[in-house]
């Protein structure tokens, strides 16, 4: 079991949360211009690093708010997401 830190409620059991996948996946500016492969890439393809990963969680059984964390996928260590520019994505 993971202990997940909700920025509002504090440390809670993982069972109170749902996972929201990779953070900061931008919606395409003009989806109609995309071919199927690019649209498919947007919908289904995500980074899969062994290490730091920015991701979304929602505290479904608590305050029901979405938030971002940085999780080390190798150790499951979680720390708060620090807002920063992500121009490279």
């Amino acid at each position: 079991m993971l202990l997940v830190r909700c920025p509002w409620c504090g440390d809670r059991d993982e069972a109170e949360f749902r996972y929201g996948g990779q953070a900061d996946v931008d919606y395409p500016a003009d989806p109609h211009q995309l071919d199927d492969a690019t649209w498919g890439e947007y919908l289904f393809v995500r980074a899969n690093p062994a290490g730091s990963f920015d991701e979304r969680w929602v505290h479904t059984a608590g305050c029901r708010r979405w938030f971002s964390v940085v999780r080390d996928t190798a150790t499951n260590e979680m720390r708060p997401d620090i807002p920063r520019r992500r121009e490279s994505r």
């Binding site: 509002w8 409620c9 504090g10 809670r12 059991d13 069972a15 109170e16 479904t60 059984a61 608590g62 305050c63 029901r64 708010r65």
Partner: protein
């Protein structure tokens, strides 16, 4: 095509609805009594039906929040806390969301009060009294019972009167609110999950039934 009958005046409709309403656990009141225990290792369960509950959304720290708090006569609570007492209280639900709790029959007047206070500002208030019913769990062993079902630390060093969290009991989302040191708790649960939660609690209480 039939023409719908004209709806009666709102007051009359409300009176009829009040007279005919049923709470989710009223048919189990005698069972709760029978399966409660007093004494040094006792724990008691009963339903507190029909509490007035209003969902309040208001940006924290703003002028709207201040005027609502003043109109209610209660400060808006900090995270994981409740203000007020078991009769009139405000429970924290989220960074911009609270639950106003009051005795049965207070919804309309409280809605008016809060909407008046919100006038010109931002925010909303909605009557959600029918969403949840309330279970009162109290007695020396009440914490032991909850600890079988709950992952939040309820030890007095971490949780006490006025603390209030939304969490899971078993597999169901609840608002868990400690009222006093006995300890006594209110567990507010969606009506359709109330039977499941009552079964869980009664099962967890069984070992204390014979002292």
């Amino acid at each position: 095509m039939t023409v719908p009958q004209k709806v009666e005046s709102e007051t009359a409709t409300t009176d009829v609805a009040t007279a005919q309403r049923h709470s989710p656990l009223e048919h189990r009141a005698a069972e709760f009594e029978r399966r409660s225990a007093s004494g040094a290792r006792g724990v008691r369960l009963r339903e507190e039906p029909f509490l007035t509950q209003l969902d309040l959304r208001t940006p924290p720290g703003g002028s709207s929040a201040a005027s609502v708090a003043e109109a209610l006569g209660l400060p808006l609570p900090a995270a994981n806390r409740a203000t007020g007492d078991e009769h009139d209280a405000v429970l924290w639900l989220g960074p911009d969301e609270s639950l106003i709790v009051a005795p049965d029959g207070r919804a309309e007047s409280l809605l008016r009060t809060v909407r008046e206070a919100q006038r010109g500002g931002s925010g909303s208030v909605v009557d959600v009294s029918a969403n949840r019913t309330t279970l009162r769990l109290s007695g020396p062993m009440a914490r032991e019972v909850l600890e079988k079902l709950c992952s939040v630390d309820l030890h007095p060093r971490a949780f006490g009167p006025g603390d209030c969290v939304q969490t899971l009991l078993g597999r169901v989302v609840v608002v868990l609110w400690q009222l006093d040191r006995e300890p006594g708790y209110r567990v507010m649960v969606r009506c359709s999950f109330a039977e499941y939660l009552a079964d869980l609690l009664l099962d967890a209480m069984a070992e204390f039934l014979d002292g």
